[in-house]
């Protein structure tokens, strides 16, 4: 599941970063507390968060995340978009709630496993 797939699955919109990246989602971390996110020791995290701030992107960069989804179509600042571009973190805005976004991503993972 690449970032382009994530955009489709979550009825989202890529608002910053490279949407053609071949990196696949390793794990989904849904969290609004950045200190919690920093504890995850997994590769290619997709961060799903309601935190619409630069810090969500900076945290994603620190843990080597492959992308960030901000749910509930929260308004995103210009600086957040710029930080995403600068740090090379694709940023997706989705109208779904956190729960619905996670359910859809989970279903997509299961479908991928089934082939």
């Amino acid at each position: 599941m690449t970032i382009a797939d994530v955009v489709k699955i979550l009825d989202g919109k890529l608002v910053a970063g490279d949407g053609t990246s071949p990196r696949a989602v390793g794990e989904v971390v849904a969290n609004d507390l950045m200190s919690d996110v920093l504890l995850y020791d997994a590769d290619d995290i997709l961060l799903v968060t309601s935190l619409a701030s630069d810090q969500a992107i900076r945290t994603a960069h620190i843990v080597g995340a492959m992308g960030v989804v901000v749910h509930n179509a929260k308004p995103l600042s210009e600086t957040m978009l710029k930080v995403s571009e600068d740090l090379g973190i694709p940023l997706v805005s989705s109208p779904l709630s956190k729960y619905d976004a996670c359910v859809r991503l989970h279903d997509a993972f299961l479908a991928e496993e089934r082939g």
Binding site: S35, D36, L39, T49, S53, D54, Q55, R58
Partner: protein
């Protein structure tokens, strides 16, 4: 006539030595051309690193005479007219001379101050400031932050002093390097020593994390193991956020040698009352504003301690907190033996 009591705009407390000690050059650059060193300095130093943060200001209603007394007593040649951080103009020596000549020294400053101002932004590289000094005849420029608030003032002297200090440090390093015998320098020369500092400003969450992101980039360029880079970046980020949200400002320092990477966070207070308590998961003095930004869950110090090979914290109430996290790059001998 009562003298006007100077208003000192309280920015972050400025310790000249500390500011000047920031951003030492990359050791790699020492072997390069001196112009490269200067260019690097001009780009790396920002206006905020060099400017004076304690600015003497005067309100609009104060008279030119009061401005004159203020300038005389503080031996300054211009005073910003400012209220609640908002800059309205500048009264210069020329305005005072005109006032004396024209007999309007008891007029309010707002009537005669210069309002067509040229200002610098705190985040601009020093190269910009030098260009401004060349392009305009002003001796100093007010410095504004991203919210257009007055946060400092910068003169050519401030810039030159900072550059001369940095260059003298580098020259001393070069001299030491060349004068030592091969035996004396063998250890130091063999170590790929690197040190860099970042200033962290209190409550400036728009920049918080910037240093940690830089640090991660530097470590990746040096091909340090991915999992170690991640641990170092986590500690750097947590400590940077801590300085930003809990202290009065400070610095984050990165030191790399052949064997280890050290992240040190030094701040200027208020200090920690109970260090043991502060290092526990979930304990925090953060307010709702900090929590709304995704931090303040009381995991900063415990996360940093968790990822580091060695962790040290010192604090004095009302003065400082220093946190040091050391990360081993080379496997310990016991680990090597057990592996073989």
């Amino acid at each position: 006539m009562a003298e006007y009591k100077p208003v000192i705009l309280q920015g972050q407390k400025t310790n000249d030595d500390e500011i000047l000690a920031k951003s030492p050059l990359d050791a790699k650059a020492l072997g390069g051309d001196s112009s490269v060193i200067i260019m690097e300095l001009l780009q790396r130093f920002k206006v905020r690193d060099v400017m004076k943060r304690q600015v003497i200001t005067i309100p609009r209603r104060a008279t030119l005479r009061q401005a004159q007394v203020l300038m005389r007593d503080n031996r300054i040649s211009g005073v910003p007219v400012c209220e609640d951080g908002r800059l309205f103009g500048i009264v210069s020596v020329n305005d005072i001379i005109r006032g004396l000549d024209g007999g309007w020294m008891d007029d309010p400053c707002e009537k005669h101050m210069a309002t067509n101002l040229v200002v610098l932004e705190a985040g601009m590289p020093i190269a910009f400031a030098l260009r401004y000094f060349n392009n305009y005849t002003y001796g100093r420029f007010p410095v504004l932050d991203s919210n257009r608030k007055l946060v400092g003032i910068i003169s050519q002297r401030d810039v030159m002093r900072a550059l001369l200090y940095e260059l003298s440090v580098e020259i001393r390093k070069l001299e030491r390097k060349t004068s030592k015998s091969i035996a004396e320098t063998s250890k130091e020369a063999s170590e790929n020593y690197f040190r860099r500092e970042w200033a962290v400003v209190r409550n400036d969450l728009s920049r918080a994390g910037h240093a940690a992101n830089d640090i991660k980039g530097i470590l990746r360029e040096r091909k340090i193991d991915r999992s170690i880079v991640r641990r170092i970046a986590v500690a750097a980020y947590e400590l940077e956020i801590n300085i930003c949200i809990h202290s009065h400002g400070g610095v984050l320092v990165l030191m790399i040698t052949n064997d280890s990477v050290t992240i040190t966070a030094k701040d200027r207070g208020p200090g920690i009352t109970d260090i043991e308590w502060a290092c526990r998961d979930g304990t925090s003095t953060a307010n709702d504003w900090i929590r709304s930004l995704g931090f303040g869950a009381g995991m900063g110090l415990s996360n940093s301690k968790r990822v580091a090979d060695d962790f040290e914290i010192k604090s004095e109430i009302g003065k400082f907190t220093n946190v040091k996290c050391v990360f081993n790059l080379a496997p310990k001998k016991s680990e090597e033996n057990s592996a073989s």
